[in-house]
């Protein structure tokens, strides 16, 4: 078993990293909203699920791929993948803004108790998932193969499969652009200001509703990108995948320290790797248990996650 593990370690790591980046991007959706509003955006898992469907719609309906089609190559492939990514991100971003308008805005402006938005989010999450279930007849929806998953060669004994490489590279680019966005742009600064101190930010003339919508949009865009990567890697989706991945990504956000962008990154990567290694040793059925036990241990010693809370600083 152990020598077997050593043989496969590198390949497992690549697979774990690509899974990790999917988690990172969904976790960013949770963590951005949490950083600004101190609220679990429970319906983010459904935002992700709609992102996966956007990719499949583009592949199947816009480009007319079927299960028998030849995979695309060259520039056409790049063009298709890029369009899928944009479609998923837009779908999820817009859905996320809509979600905030319908489920949270009124509650937030009324200053309700902490749990009411959570229940509202759960309600929205049920509505979104059920709507998709009815549309898809409760079936799994397979994605036609647009890209041949060929190996690009090996790297220290790791097999570099094309889809994993795309996910890791594109995920990294998205993550870096997000952190630059939050650091440098006007909206990014406003988001940080609100997450530090909402009242002071308002007094300084920050338009709170605009910033909150912006946060949901950015979080949704990242979550949507994760949806595209998911379809690229697993080539199917269904109305209920949001739940499992959402929980895992939320765990990742907590592991790194929720509300902290860097925390979502390391938490997601760590969780992806951990799950992959744990599935290898104990079988896939125990991976969730392993993850949660690790989480309990981490939180026992570092109750605010590994990197602490808040987009910029720990709450007093």
């Amino acid at each position: 078993m152990l020598s077997n593990f050593q043989d496969q370690f590198a390949s497992l790591t690549v697979g774990g990293l690509s899974l990790g980046f999917i988690y990172v991007l969904i976790a960013l959706g949770y963590t951005m909203v949490y950083g600004v509003l101190r609220m679990i955006n429970f319906a983010n898992s459904e935002v992700f699920m709609y992102g996966t469907f956007a990719t499949i719609i583009v592949i199947r309906d816009l480009f007319g791929f079927t299960q028998q089609s030849e995979p695309a190559t060259g520039f056409r492939l790049v063009y298709i993948l890029f369009l899928c990514l944009i479609a998923s991100m837009l779908m999820s971003g817009i859905l996320s803004i809509f979600l905030e308008l319908v489920a949270y805005r009124r509650l937030r402006n009324r200053g309700s108790n902490k749990l009411a938005p959570l229940i509202s989010a759960i309600g929205m999450s049920i509505v979104l998932a059920e709507f998709m279930r009815i549309l898809t007849d409760s079936r799994y929806v397979g994605s036609p193969r647009v890209m041949e998953k060929k190996s690009l060669g090996t790297f220290f004994g790791a097999e570099l499969r094309l889809d994993n490489v795309i996910i890791i590279v594109a995920g990294l680019i998205l993550f870096v652009s997000l952190s630059q966005f939050v650091q440098r742009t006007r909206l990014g600064k406003a988001i940080r200001a609100v997450s530090m101190n909402e009242d002071a930010a308002k007094l300084m003339g920050v338009n709170l509703n605009f910033v909150v919508s912006g946060t949901f949009l950015v979080g949704g865009l990242m979550t949507g990108a994760a949806g595209f990567f998911y379809v690229l890697k697993y080539e199917n989706t269904s109305f209920n995948i949001g739940f499992e991945l959402g929980i895992a990504a939320f765990t990742a956000a907590i592991l790194g320290g929720i509300g902290n962008i860097k925390g979502a990154f390391y938490g997601g990567i760590a969780l992806g790797l951990l799950e992959t290694y744990a599935s290898f040793f104990l079988g896939t059925q125990w991976k969730a248990v392993t993850v949660f036990i690790v989480l309990v241990f981490v939180l026992y010693f570092r109750p605010n996650g590994v990197f602490g809370e808040a987009i910029t600083q720990t709450r007093a």
């Binding site: 319908v102 509650l107 959570l118």
Partner: protein, 339 residues
């Protein structure tokens, strides 16, 4: 706006003892006569009305009351409440099929098991606050379910079949389709639970929970041993969940890990918040409505969960404190953590 909760509390406080007894007896009689109203507009179109009243309605009420101790009284967000329900049900399933014990003998064992699980989870988890506690409890719920799913010695994915019914008492026979008898038995358990929570609420424990919920740091500074009382709230909530599990298993006679998903925890949480966190009558009302509604609107078959979700969103936006919110005076206090 007209506040039903304050109006009800006003009537209760103004009346003397005889009137109070009358009100209580009237309420109990109304609840007990629910199974007799099968032919009226209350009837559920597809599922059997009597059986809907037992599960989900009565079971939901018991669980919501238990979760209310944890969330409503002491303000601890528990997203894995189903774990205790599952532990109770599996205790009943295993002991009921493998030993000769009957339901009433297993009930205290199931409660003890759930309390023990609450203690094991609570000691590390209750050092954490807010949303971290939420994710740990959620994880615990999933661990219990996955363990049940993967351990073939307790049935694995097939679950446990052939759980015995409770033994005959006073000549009343618990057959599978005798829903009324089950309902009345569960009603007694519900009343006992309500009585226990009301007694605790006005005593030291209740005051300690109240202070922890409002401001944990201040409570600690005033000398409330917050950690100990949080454990107590957790363990008591777990005991009620365990009891609900034992009762559930001895009603359905068949359990499998599919009955204990996270969705159940979330649904019970929704009952508590929907009805009005912290207020027993609100919680009971919330559980009745949310347990009953999906079956009542089954005629729109495919879209019934969709409508259910929309109702949750709509309700929370119109009445964020639930149908019957707790007393208003606490709301004057500023929200903590809104800096």
């Amino acid at each position: 706006m007209f506040n039903l909760r304050d109006w009800g509390a006003g009537v209760w406080e103004r009346s003397g003892r005889p009137v109070r007894v009358l009100i209580a007896l009237g309420a109990i009689a109304a609840a007990a006569s629910l199974p007799l109203l099968g032919g009226t507009f209350l009837n559920t179109p597809i599922a059997d009305y009597g059986s809907v009243l037992v599960f989900p309605v009565a079971i939901f009420v018991i669980m919501a009351l238990g979760l209310n101790i944890v969330i409503g009284k002491s303000g601890l967000l528990d997203l894995g409440y189903v774990a205790f329900f599952a532990i109770g049900a599996y205790t009943m399933g295993i002991l009921g099929t493998k030993t000769g014990l009957n339901s009433w003998e297993i009930l205290p064992i199931g409660i003890a098991m759930a309390m023990f699980a609450g203690l094991i989870l609570g000691v590390p988890a209750l050092r954490l606050r807010g949303d971290y506690l939420a994710i740990i409890t959620l994880g615990f719920g999933e661990i219990v379910r996955i363990t049940a799913l993967n351990l073939n010695s307790i049935g694995g994915a097939n679950g446990i079949v052939g759980i015995p019914t409770p033994p005959t008492i006073f000549g009343l026979e618990y057959t599978f389709d005798n829903h009324r008898l089950y309902f009345w038995t569960f009603l007694i358990i519900i009343l006992l639970t309500i009585w226990m929570i009301r007694r605790l609420s006005v005593r030291r424990a209740g005051r300690a929970w109240e202070s922890i919920r409002q401001d944990e740091d201040a409570a600690e500074l005033m000398g409330v041993p917050t950690f100990r009382y949080k454990i107590w709230a957790f363990v008591l909530g777990a005991s009620v969940g365990g009891a609900a599990g034992v009762l559930y298993a001895s009603k359905t006679l068949f359990i499998s890990p599919d009955n204990f998903t996270l969705q159940v925890s979330i649904l019970i949480l929704a009952c508590v918040v929907f009805g009005g966190m912290g207020n027993i009558w609100g919680v009971v009302l919330g559980a009745i409505i949310l347990g009953y509604l999906p079956d009542r609107i089954r005629f729109i078959s495919d879209a019934r969960l969709l409508v259910f979700g929309a109702v949750l969103v709509l309700m929370m936006n119109l009445r964020p404190d639930g149908l019957l919110p707790r007393k208003k005076r606490e709301k004057a206090l500023p929200e903590k953590g809104q800096s």
